[in-house]
């Protein structure tokens, strides 16, 4: 009980009212969540309180995609925003993480100037009449009618047009027409409505996002880009207000591997896929852990995520415990696989028995380790957070945390024995070590090993203090296979997905619990879960807290 109170912070506080689906032990109440159409009986999430109205700032990637759509042909690398738009949350579009600080505005201005200059100078500039010495009013109106709705991703008003006309004319007087054209583009690229997307700008206490807000929210989340023409058309004609039509568009985007850039980003950022490219390793100890191998590991992770999303019958299970991997010859050799692909290709091949799914891949094992040594605590902590959505609090304030050093004589399990013998340590380390130690069969560079400092490694695993996954296992692979079959990992994944679609601002855990109770979640259908999340009331509605009773 003490452990539960002190260390274990699963989100048990629920939403007010009935939570259908999982809580009732039923399989939801409708047809396949991956299906299309208004007849889909997606579990009723209207009991959940919608998030409050907000602004979500575009990430540098989304900014560049917006520029590319607005000014085709312009080199989007001119937008140098990355240093001042660095993320501080799990996801780069985290609504809390990005801020318009002075340095951010500086980089925004400098990017806007470079892009505007390049766009106006381009022979394919879409509005050549703006470059004339004298710009006709008709030209200006036509330009703004085309440009502003695409830039602001909404229907523009006469007032919008008039403000920009007045600005252009003032700059034309001061700087001449060609310069004024650049200035016009600059103010559009600097505009809050270009750089933020709004979620709920009307004044009622609770309201549905307007169709264009919804189109932007869906598009930026799934594709990291502004709405495509089909989505804009559905917003324009009002059809997007229908849940069925909304779901059709969501599925259309999700079914395209090319368009679903944002979906892939979610996994990349959540599981820190590309950190293996940067993670420091001692080159003298791990000579074969070179740049090509790191790239092979990233490709393996991407391959598995693609498979889980678009090929697998049960994406979550595949992600956590797939017995096969997308490898090239270099990685297959590194893993000691029986078969190897042809020289330059990649193939799906059976993994050796010690590996199963994403969490035993070389990329994560190498990332969750220091330059020289594996790190069982870090690995256990990662599983606790990413698969079980549990929390492990910081050590007590008076405790000096000293990492266990490799003494050259013992195994990590022997060295971490202190964690279980010392009550002060055991309280929290029992949440991590019994899982993490099973990954000791992978060294700091993710290679398989059977011994450490001349002693055999005991790769057995145990899960303690989980909601429903407790058990003892012969190996990390067996533990992951068990987790993949259980409901706790599904619920945890729903939590990650809800955090992603809500831009990091989750009012309560109602939405994720409803999501976890849906049929898509139960069948591990990741695309279906995305569709469920993006058509749920907690996503399509916003609440104005100041007006709420």
């Amino acid at each position: 009980l003490l452990i539960q109170l002190f260390c274990f912070q699963f989100l048990l506080t629920g939403c007010s009212g009935r939570i259908p689906g999982r809580d009732e032990g039923t399989g939801g109440d409708g047809a396949g969540a991956g299906g299309v159409g208004g007849s889909d009986a997606w579990p009723d999430d209207t009991v959940c309180t919608p998030s409050s109205t907000r602004l979500v700032q575009l990430t540098p990637e989304q900014y560049r995609a917006s520029v590319a759509q607005l000014f085709p042909g312009v080199d989007v690398k001119l937008a140098t925003l990355d240093a001042t738009f660095s993320r501080t949350g799990v996801f780069s579009h985290d609504a809390n993480g990005l801020r318009m600080t002075t340095p951010a505005i500086e980089s925004l201005l400098s990017s806007a100037k470079a892009i505007a200059h390049s766009a106006v100078a381009s022979p394919s500039f879409r509005y050549p009449c703006l470059k004339l010495a004298t710009v006709a009013d008709a030209c200006l109106s036509k330009t703004l009618d085309d440009l502003l709705p695409r830039a602001f991703r909404r229907v523009v008003t006469a007032d919008d047009r008039e403000r920009h006309v007045a600005f252009f004319k003032a700059r034309a007087t001061a700087e001449g027409a060609p310069a004024a054209a650049e200035r016009l583009l600059q103010v559009i690229l600097m505009a809050p409505e270009f750089n933020f997307r709004t979620e709920g700008r009307t004044v009622s206490p609770t309201q549905k996002l307007d169709a264009h807000e919804l189109a932007s929210a869906v598009a930026f989340l799934l594709t990291d880009a502004p709405p495509d023409p089909a989505l804009v058309a559905a917003a324009d004609d009002g059809s997007l207000a229908s849940t069925g039509t909304l779901r059709e568009h969501v599925m259309r985007l999700l079914n395209s591997k090319t368009l679903s850039v944002g979906v892939k980003r979610m996994f990349r950022e959540l599981f820190r896929q590309d950190l293996v490219l940067q993670t420091p390793k001692d080159a003298t100890l791990f000579r074969s852990f070179d740049e090509p191998l790191r790239n092979s590991m990233v490709a393996e992770s991407e391959g598995l995520i693609d498979f889980a999303l678009w090929e697998s019958d049960n994406g979550i299970e595949s992600l956590i415990a797939s017995p096969r991997a997308w490898v090239d010859a270099k990685l297959a050799t590194y893993y000691g696989m029986v078969d190897t692909p042809s020289a330059n290709g990649r193939e799906w091949l059976d993994l050796p028995p010690e590996r199963a799914g994403l969490f035993t891949q070389g990329s994560l094992m190498a990332t969750l380790a220091s330059a020289k040594n594996s790190n069982a605590v870090q690995r256990g902590n990662f599983i606790r957070k990413m698969v079980l959505c549990g929390d492990v609090p910081a050590p007590p304030k008076d405790l000096m945390v000293v990492p266990v050093q490799d003494d050259g004589r013992s195994t990590m399990r022997e060295r971490l024995a202190q964690h279980s013998s010392d009550t002060q340590c055991a309280t929290c380390h029992s949440l991590m070590d019994p899982m993490g130690l099973s990954f000791e069969i992978f060294d700091a560079a993710g290679a398989y090993r059977t011994s450490q400092n001349g002693k055999p490694i005991d790769g057995s695993a145990a899960i303690l203090d989980s909601q429903s996954s407790n058990g003892e296992f012969a190996s990390a692979a067996e533990m992951m296979q068990s987790l993949a079959r259980g409901s706790e990992a599904v619920a945890c994944f729903a939590q990650h997905m809800e955090a992603f679609v809500q831009a990091g601002i989750v009012t309560d855990n109602c939405g994720e619990r409803v999501l976890a109770g849906g049929k898509s979640a139960k069948s591990g259908d990741l695309l279906g879960m995305f569709a469920d999340a993006l058509t749920a009331t907690v996503f399509t509605n916003r609440r104005n807290e100041e007006l709420s009773p």
Partner: protein, 454 residues
């Protein structure tokens, strides 16, 4: 009893338990607060990990008579302006790899000490940093409220400055970018002290910024509270940028400096300017660090800003080699872990030399019958990097300068271990710069101003 009198009495009572002198300190600091306008604050933060020997004089004959620790040799010329203090603690910097934000905010973050976990090593800031707080006091009328530069060599946030919860204040990542933001839009002044006027193009920039500001105001009217605060921040930032484009009447000693070498317009970890290079083992480039320091010094001298931070931390900076100092492998990080004091001191001595480089420029710049250094303070602080880098309980701090006679320098003060959180020092510094705060960071760790500073 007025609130102010109650506060003063409260402070007296708070401090009296530790030192009666403390209450007098507070009174004196109040007087010091009158000369707010001219003061300057600089912080240099570096990582990670401390050895107590850095900050402990080998021989202490009295509070003002002690041998400078080896790492401070570059500051020997300014010995009388040094205040060396030891044994602070930072309760929020104890996770395995520390909480970088806590260095200047004394606030916890969602940092887990786990690079791969949500939030990464540095998590998110959960409070305002000292430099940004002072930017609101002495920097609010400056063209640049605070100038922040950092070696950016990690794809996370390697900086330490923040405006509040979740509100990181990102730094410029190299001297060329910092120069562009400070002197870049201004024409030269052939005569020292002559007016520096904005370039013609900057006038047009102003119109763009002004228009964007009015658009932000317009949208603000349609949004809820959270969105409004974001738009208000955007307006403040736009306004600050607009102010930089106004004509500047600088100090007589100011001459617009030459732009740094354009080759430095890159991330520190991209030595060739190409693809991202894994920072491990890549040497720190001293040209980059020194040019960063020079932009800060010249911006202070010319009055573009009154608050500056230079972060030599970087997410992985401590894993970097210092080839030019002969500290390759083991790197600074490993050297600290292995207790290789000589190697650690080489790196830290270099950092002290950077502090001396900035301070020298202030000392050489006349102001009000003295020098600019007379009204300035430089804080040199290690970010700690968690308890296994000895960064929680035994935090040594060095300051230079007395911020307009607000503190007494040329001394070594060693407090009882655990007696004072860094926040007590920060309260004193804030008071010296004209703020009336009595607490900083998490209230339960902040007792009030540090006793005995005057």
């Amino acid at each position: 009893m007025s609130m102010r009198r109650r506060q003063v009495l409260g402070r007296f009572l708070e401090v009296a338990g530790a030192s009666c002198l403390g209450s007098m300190v507070q009174a004196s600091l109040g007087n010091g607060a009158r000369a707010v306008g001219a003061k300057r604050f600089i912080v240099i933060a570096y990582g990670n990990g401390m050895l107590t020997e850095h900050y402990t004089p080998k021989a202490v004959r009295s509070e003002s008579d002690f041998d400078l620790p080896a790492m401070l040799e570059p500051l020997a010329a300014y010995r009388k302006q040094i205040l060396l203090m030891g044994r602070f603690f930072n309760p929020h910097n104890q996770d395995l790899h520390g909480n970088g934000w806590a260095t200047l905010s004394i606030r916890p973050s969602d940092n887990t000490g786990d690079v791969a976990a949500p939030g990464g090593v540095y998590g998110r800031p959960s409070g305002q940093s000292l430099d940004r707080m002072l930017a609101g006091v002495v920097g609010k009328d400056s063209r640049i409220s605070s100038l922040n530069i950092a070696l950016n060599d990690w794809k996370g946030p390697p900086h330490i400055s923040s405006d509040g919860p979740n509100a990181a204040y990102p730094p410029h990542i190299n001297p060329v970018q910092a120069y562009r933001a400070t002197f870049g839009m201004l024409t030269g002044n052939p005569d020292p002290g002559g007016a520096i006027v904005p370039e013609k193009a900057a006038i047009g920039d102003q119109s763009v910024l002004d228009f964007a500001r009015s658009e932000a105001r317009r949208l603000e009217l349609e949004m809820g509270a959270d969105a409004r605060s974001k738009l208000q921040q955007m307006q403040t930032s736009l306004r600050e940028l607009e102010m930089r484009l106004a004509t500047l009447k600088p100090a007589p000693v100011c001459t617009k400096p030459a732009a740094p070498n354009a080759a430095l317009d890159r991330e520190q970890s991209k030595p060739g300017g190409g693809e991202y290079v894994m920072p491990y083992g890549v040497s720190i480039d001293p040209k980059m660090v020194e040019a960063n320091a020079d932009v800060i010094a010249e911006s202070l001298v010319c009055g573009l800003t009154r608050v500056a931070s230079l972060s030599l931390l970087g997410g992985s900076e401590s894993h970097r080699a210092w080839d030019f100092l002969g500290v390759g492998q083991p790197d600074r990080h490993e050297a600290q872990h292995q207790g290789l004091l000589a190697d650690v001191i080489k790196g830290d001595k270099y950092v002290a030399g950077i502090a001396a480089r900035i301070w020298k420029r202030l000392v050489e710049s006349p102001e009000d019958g003295g020098t600019m250094a007379d009204n300035s303070m430089l804080l040199l602080i290690n970010t700690g990097g968690g308890s296994h880098h000895n960064g929680t309980q035994d935090h040594g701090v060095i300051t230079l300068g007395n911020a307009g006679s607000s503190i007494r320098t040329g001394r070594y003060l060693s407090f009882a271990k655990g007696a004072h959180c860094l926040s007590d020092l920060y309260v004193s510094i804030a008071n010296a710069f004209g703020s009336n705060i009595t607490r900083f960071g998490t209230p339960e760790h902040s007792k009030g101003p540090l006793p005995g500073l005057i």
